[in-house]
């Protein structure tokens, strides 16, 4: 097994007495497709924020590629190769689809400091290719504010990939997508090279089990279980966590896994 790209050891985040993330340790090997699942309020999104640095940890360390990044500000972590999509679309609404991707892509091409107009041919070409990958090739000139919800989710993925990440964090990328769109997303994520490690939070278990090579189940801020998808399906502890929400039987009903919303 290769060395972990992302290693969380004993990280916690407390809000007063509430332990949103409580002593979580996870190792994500390079090239893994790691899924985080768990009922609402399990701390999945908070965990993402601790990894990206948009929220400081209360305790514990975050290591990326062998170096401790716990004290680095968010933009420095991003430059080390962490990229993310957010649960609620976070785009540049007044700008066009192409400009959104270009903002992410141009950082890689050293033209971002240019204070006179540049052709940015390389960055533009990359933006065009990414938009084609996510299925927005015809929408490059459209303002983001005119996109549908599903299209915005697709654009989120394109923006996140434009950063050429080592570690890609996807927070419910398929939420609000049509079945066709989410199937396309799964294909796109499957086609990513091994050099990109993916951690995904997703309620759509069909997406999770189509992609994931390993799964961590979070419950009330703690790691309930980390294992292969089959182990997670079979685990009694996981059943119990989900049974607590009254959806356990749905979750385990693998005969009909289509679009379960565990919420």
């Amino acid at each position: 097994m290769s060395a972990p790209l992302l290693s969380l050891s004993g990280i916690s985040r407390h809000f007063g007495a509430l332990k949103a993330v409580d002593d979580v340790s996870i190792d994500v090997p390079t090239g893994a497709r790691h899924a985080l699942i768990g009922p609402n309020g399990a701390g999945k999104s908070t965990l993402f924020r601790l990894v990206t640095g948009s929220m400081p940890v209360s305790s514990g360390t975050v290591t990326l590629g062998g170096s401790d990044i716990t004290r680095l500000p968010e933009f420095r972590r991003a430059r080390r190769g962490i990229s993310q999509t957010l649960q609620h679309s976070s785009l540049f609404l007044s700008q066009t689809v192409q400009q959104n991707v270009l903002l992410a892509a141009q950082r890689q091409y050293g033209t971002r400091h240019a204070i006179v107009p540049r052709e940015q041919a390389a960055a533009r070409e990359r933006a065009r290719a990414l938009l084609a990958d996510v299925g927005l090739e015809g929408r490059a000139g459209t303002p983001v504010s005119a996109l549908s919800h599903g299209e915005r989710r697709q654009l989120e993925v394109a923006v996140a990939l434009a950063c050429q990440p080592r570690l890609l964090l996807l927070d419910e990328p398929a939420a609000g997508m049509s079945p066709a769109e989410s199937a396309r997303l799964v294909e796109l994520l499957k086609s990513l090279p091994e050099s990109v490690t993916v951690v995904i939070v997703e309620h759509d278990l069909e997406v999770v089990f189509a992609l994931a090579t390993s799964v961590t189940v979070l419950h009330l801020g703690r790691v309930l279980l980390t294992g292969s998808p089959d182990e997670v399906r079979a685990s009694a502890a996981v059943q119990e966590a989900y049974l607590g929400t009254g959806r356990g039987s749905l979750f385990l009903d693998m005969a009909e896994p289509a679009h379960l919303e565990v919420s």
Partner: protein, 343 residues
């Protein structure tokens, strides 16, 4: 040449999924190049046909317009509304005046020193100001403006105190003083034209794109690996430099600099010009500046000192009728669908 980052999409691009037809794009590009040239030629011809008073009013409009466009880089492009931008205008004006009096009035030297002084002053103060946002940024910039205003008042041995810095010699080109208002006007037109071109290039550059990104969604820019502080600081310094440049031209044209040039009233008026013209468009604030200067200087004396009142009424009407300023007129004329949220 690439399309400027801030160019709004044409209606065709919104209506259909195909890019706009090349003919249409060519007309648009032609218009973008030809229109400024036509405006420039018309402006250059003004002293040949207009009386000296009109020419010097137009000079003041051009200077105030450059000042307003420099503020627009902060307000409209970066999303940092400043209430103390006159501080750098004032610093530039005093710097140019002092250089002209004590050293040389040769052409662009005082004006370039003014731009450098404005940028340095913006660098020294912006370092603190851009760390804050929203109301705190407003208050900090307001305080910086008042600070510079007070300094100009109290350092009487250097600035002339509340009497102002007077006796600034006329601009010289190649040793010949420009005595006629028309020549001074051409000098002002050349420098403001270059200044505007500079600001336009900055706003359409990849750097300008980053500034727009920060305006729209600062947390997202951080997660894309940009340090918003550095970009905001750079924008603040650039805006301060161009405000200083405008201040230097002011000193060369009016030849008297008083503390009120750095004061709150000037800051408020220039912010009004930006909002009146339409923040973020760069060309809109030029029109806004024209309205402000015309109402204050040209109509004001005929109104028994009620110029500010008229300005207030114009402002209220403009905000009510044109919420996006004069720049919003273009979209109205094109009947462009408003870029509102679609579910």
């Amino acid at each position: 040449m690439s399309l400027p980052v801030g160019t709004p999409a044409t209606p065709a691009a919104i209506a259909s999924t195909t890019p706009p037809r090349t003919a249409e794009r060519r007309t648009g590009r032609l218009l973008r190049v030809a229109l400024p040239l036509v405006v420039l030629v018309v402006l250059a011809a003004v002293p040949l046909f207009v009386a000296p008073f009109g020419t010097s009013t137009l000079s003041r409009i051009l200077i105030f317009a450059l000042f307003a466009v420099s503020l627009d880089l902060l307000v409209g492009v970066t999303g940092l509304p400043s209430l103390g931008h006159a501080a750098y205008f004032g610093v530039g004006a005093y710097a140019a005046g002092l250089v002209a009096i004590h050293w040389t009035a040769e052409g662009v030297v005082p004006v370039l020193v003014a731009a450098a002084a404005g940028a340095v002053a913006a660098g020294a103060t912006g370092w603190l100001a851009v760390r804050s946002g929203g109301v705190y940024f407003l208050m900090l910039t307001l305080a910086i403006g008042e600070l510079v205003h007070q300094l100009a008042q109290s350092l009487a041995s250097v600035t002339g105190g509340s009497n102002g810095l007077y006796g600034i010699p006329t601009v010289r080109i190649g040793g010949t003083p420009l005595t006629l208002p028309g020549y001074v006007y051409w000098f002002v037109l050349a420098v403001t034209g270059l200044g505007y071109l500079g600001l336009h290039l900055v706003a359409s550059s990849p750097f300008g794109g980053v500034l727009r990104g920060i305006r729209d969604n600062e947390p997202r820019m951080r997660s894309l690996g940009y340090s918003p502080f550095r970009y905001k600081f750079a924008a603040f310094v650039i805006a301060g430099g161009f405000a200083g440049l405008a201040g230097g031209l002011f000193a060369a044209q009016v030849r008297l600099v008083t503390p009120s040039e750095a004061g709150f009233t000037t800051s408020a008026l220039v912010l009004l010009a930006v909002i009146l013209g339409g923040a973020g468009s760069l060309w809109g604030p030029i029109l806004g500046a024209a309205v402000v200067v015309l109402v204050r200087d040209a109509l004001g004396p005929d109104l028994d000192g009620h110029g500010p009142l008229l300005l207030g009424i114009v402002f209220v009407l403009a905000v009510y009728v044109l919420p996006r300023g004069f720049a919003g007129l273009r979209d109205l004329l094109r009947r462009r669908p408003s870029p509102g949220e679609t579910p």
